[in-house]
């Protein structure tokens, strides 16, 4: 069985989300800041009347902030009852990965990313980290509650 992944870069990491879950990919959108929210939430976006929360993936993964002046891209991911936007550095290709090529994430994977990654796949010259999109903010929730 072959799964298609929408890929994107955050820092020097390559991530993939099952293409079925991706509603759309957009260039940078203006956001409304939400004071008092978790710092990883950059703001809310008006996506043709749909209210979408934007999560800064660099902050989520504990990576250093992007350099001044670079604008992130939006990967809008569908969830059960709404959608969430992942702010990422660059959008990559949609790639086909067969089920056998997917492996369990290595035990050595660093902390914050670990809980978000369902599987990994060795590509030529890169390691694709498959994101568990539903987990992104449920973890953020618990973190905030703590």
């Amino acid at each position: 069985m072959v799964t298609q992944f929408c890929t994107f870069n955050v820092g020097n990491l390559l991530f993939g989300v099952d293409v079925v879950l991706v509603q759309e990919v957009m260039r940078y959108q203006e956001m409304t800041r939400v004071p008092l929210a978790s710092p990883m939430i950059r703001g809310i976006i008006n996506l043709r009347g749909q209210l979408v929360t934007a999560v800064d993936m660099r902050r989520r993964l504990g990576l250093p902030e992007a350099s001044e002046g670079t604008l992130p891209m939006n990967v809008i991911v569908r969830r059960e009852d709404d959608a969430i936007s992942l702010l990422v550095d660059e959008i990559g290709d949609v790639i086909d990965v067969s089920a056998e090529a997917l492996e369990r994430p290595p035990e050595t994977l660093m902390g914050t990313a670990r809980e978000l990654i369902k599987a990994v796949c060795q590509l030529e010259g890169a390691l694709l980290l498959v994101l568990d999109a539903q987990q992104i903010t449920s973890v953020a929730d618990t973190e905030r509650a703590a």
Partner: protein
């Protein structure tokens, strides 16, 4: 939800609906001269249920529907005619089917119920002949035809869907309607942008197209709004029964009259007003309408009338619930209010009848002498008010002792769109729902320094004699510090949970009708926001949750409450009754003050309207005679000659329902008494320091000393305004 579940769900909904229709058809069968069409409808409904239940493996449903169908097929073919006996059996079958269905809905299985007797009865009815001319052959053919149909359940589906009702209405998920509503909202924004672009263009084709787009969008928006509307009759329909049962329980006779059943309301609002309405109706019957014997002795009809009236007015829905019962006795309300400590005796004495009657909406208030099991525990009307205010409505009661009471509810058409005040803080716009808004106060530099005090780290604003805790929105949201000392300050006075506080914002923009959108789940935790809305420029603005702000700023916490109370007490002892005063200059240039509580209105009166009654000067005022006086009340003052050119400033005072007009030179301000020296010699004018200046107080006793003749008992009309 799995696919099978969905199919079952659909089957349940569809079957329940067709059984309801079937009931109606069955009832009508007996009277119908040409029942063929109805029988065909019933047959189709049962046939569909049989087909689908067989397909979904509900054998009991299938078996029962099967014998019913047999009987119906004979009716359809004219072998049998619908006797009351047959109709009863079919009704019993419908009930039994409903039983199965509800069991399937809750547990997923048909349940243990057996209907052997019913099955036997149905088969027996099907096998007899009450039309002697029907030959056996027909029966055989009919049964054969049934079997043929059974083999194609898919066909049965199609057949069932083409019922008469299905042609005119379809079932739509509310979620889909909400989505459409969102999209239309966005379309309106896009339309506005295009209109702006096109305005500067001279291309007539483009202008024509935008014009058409404009009209279409408006129409589309109206249409979508309507799809979410439901007639209020959908919840009123249960009231005849509620009223009947309540009236019986209370030993009263009540006739219910309903007007405006087809008034449309957003379905979410309909849900929200259901309970408050029930409560008001209960109250009217329990407390309002009298027992028959008392009604007769009061010269009324034996049966009381309860009227529910709904109508659209001014973009809102009005619901009036009136009864012709005993009304609410303001005297009893006053006594109760004072006894319960809800209002001070002083204040109660000054309240108008209408204000008194509206005290019933305060928590813990009930005038019923005896607690009945229907109402009277005093937990009702305040909940009614809270519920109605929560959806942005208002409730008001008017009563005429002995003649009845009327409760008026005004609610918005829809919950999704609310009026809001747009403010800014830290460069962002925020929306505050207007429901919680009390007033806007702007303090200029010097006032902001003098009016704001800090006690226990809390900023407090003295506003007309009350201490109002202040919350700085910018600081609360983690932005800027409190504004510089001399800066102008905008305070939005908000009310939540009967508690008031002032929210200091950077600027106040405008009021707008906004569409509320819920925040994503990771933001639900941020309690100071209730949602977000899309502004005219397409950007989002967060909606403030007033209760959330009060809580996170600790305005309504207990500790803060105590600190506040202590602070007020300090203020009290320092000033000894810090009453709000109206400052004015008398005609002869003195600076005087009168307690604000006594002031009913400020008026300007043209000198040529003054008439003379004996030695008194009077004017006609709202259909009454208002005596005029010139403070200070000295002999020489009454001879003051009014200039004929300038209109006179008159303070209309009222006490115990009596009115008096004070002619003054100039109205100055509203202030507070700070230091008073009331222990003065008899005959001397009491003085106080108000706003840093010595001011004469126009004493109550001075007013009272004015001979009674100069007060006029006001007409009934005046009392109600």
């Amino acid at each position: 939800m799995s696919e099978t579940d969905e199919v079952i769900q659909e089957f349940l909904i569809e079957s329940t609906e067709s059984l309801d229709r079937l009931d109606v058809d069955l009832m009508a069968l007996e009277d119908d001269a040409a029942p063929e069409k109805r029988i065909a409808n019933i047959f189709r409904a049962i046939h569909t249920i049989k087909g689908t239940s067989g397909f979904l493996a509900f054998p009991k449903v299938e078996a029962l529907a099967h014998v019913g169908e047999n009987l119906l097929s004979r009716l359809r073919d004219g072998v049998l005619s619908p006797t009351p006996e047959i109709v009863s059996a079919l009704l019993a079958m419908a009930d039994a089917l409903r039983g199965f269905l509800s069991h399937v809905e809750t547990t997923g299985t048909e349940g243990p119920a057996e209907h052997d007797q019913l099955v036997a009865l149905l088969s027996q009815l099907a096998s007899q002949e009450n039309l002697p001319q029907a030959p056996m052959a027909v029966q055989f053919v009919a049964t054969k035809a049934n079997e043929a149909e059974e083999a194609h359940p898919a066909e049965a589906f199609d057949e069932g869907r083409s019922g008469p009702l299905a042609d005119t209405s379809i079932r739509v998920q509310v979620g889909l309607l909400d989505k459409l509503m969102n999209l239309v909202g966005e379309l309106v924004l896009a339309r506005n942008q295009i209109l702006q672009c096109a305005a500067g263009n001279e291309d007539s084709t483009l202008l024509g197209a935008t014009q058409r787009l404009n009209l279409l969008t408006t129409e589309l928006q109206e249409g979508i709004m309507k799809t979410r509307m439901q007639p209020i009759g959908s919840i009123w329909s249960k009231f005849p029964r509620v009223v009947r049962e309540l009236a019986r329980a209370c030993g009263k006779e009540v006739e219910l009259e309903m007007v405006g059943k087809d008034t449309d309301l957003d379905r979410s609002i309909i849900e929200a007003i259901k309970d408050p309405l029930t409560h008001i109706v209960r109250n009217s019957i329990d407390h309002g309408i009298e027992k028959p014997e008392r009604r007769l002795s009061a010269g009324k009809r034996q049966a009381g009338t309860l009227k529910m009236h709904a109508f659209h007015e001014g973009g809102k829905v009005n619901i009036e619930i009136s009864d012709d019962g005993g009304g609410i006795d303001p005297v009893r309300v006053r006594a109760k209010a004072v006894e319960r400590g809800v209002v001070s005796p002083d204040r109660a004495a000054r309240m108008t009848d209408r204000e008194l009657v509206n005290l019933i909406f305060l928590p813990g208030f009930s005038t019923a002498e005896a607690v009945s099991n229907v109402s009277g525990r005093g937990v009702g009307m305040d909940v009614v008010r809270t519920n109605i205010e929560r959806i942005g409505g208002t409730v008001d009661v008017q009563s005429q002792t002995g003649a009845g009471a009327i409760v008026r509810i005004k609610i918005p058409l829809t919950l999704a769109i609310i009026p809001a005040l747009i403010v800014t803080a830290c460069g962002e716009r925020y929306a505050i729902p207007q429901v919680s808004l009390v007033e806007l106060v702007r303090l200029d530099g010097s006032e902001s320094r003098g009016g704001i005090e800090t006690i226990h780290g809390t900023s407090l604003l003295r506003l007309r004699g009350n201490l109002l805790p202040l919350v700085y929105l910018g600081t609360l949201l983690g932005g800027s510090k409190a504004p510089a000392e001399h800066a102008e300050i905008n305070v939005v006075v908000l009310q939540t949970d009967e508690r008031r506080f002032g929210l200091v914002v950077d600027s106040i923009v405008d009021t707008e009708e906004i569409v509320v959108k819920p925040l994503g789940r990771e933001l639900k935790r941020v309690s100071v926001f209730a949602g977000a809305t899309i502004m005219g420029d397409g950007r989002l603005a967060l909606i403030l949750d007033v209760l959330g702000i009060a809580q996170s700023a600790n305005v309504i916490s207990e500790a803060r409450d105590r600190a506040l109370k202590a602070a007020s007490q300090v203020a009290m002892t320092a000033t000894e009754e810090p009453a709000a005063l109206l400052l004015f200059r008398t005609i002869d240039g003195r600076r005087m003050a009168i307690p604000l509580g006594l002031v009913a209105r400020l008026e300007e009166i043209e000198p040529d309207t003054i008439e003379h009654a004996g030695s008194d000067r009077v004017v006609q005022y709202r259909g009454d005679i208002l005596p005029l006086m010139c403070p200070p009340f000295r002999a020489e003052a009454s001879s003051v000659v009014f200039s004929q050119d300038i209109s006179l400033q008159v303070i209309v005072c009222s006490e115990d329902g009596r009115h008096l007009g004070l002619v003054v030179g100039e109205i100055l301000d509203i202030g507070e008494e700070v230091v008073s020296s009331r222990e003065v010699r008899r005959g001397a004018t009491p003085v106080a320091i108000v706003q840093g200046r010595v001011t004469e107080l126009l004493d109550l006793s001075t007013l009272r000393a004015v001979p009674d003749s100069s007060f006029k008992q006001p007409s009934k009309l005046l009392e109600f305004h």
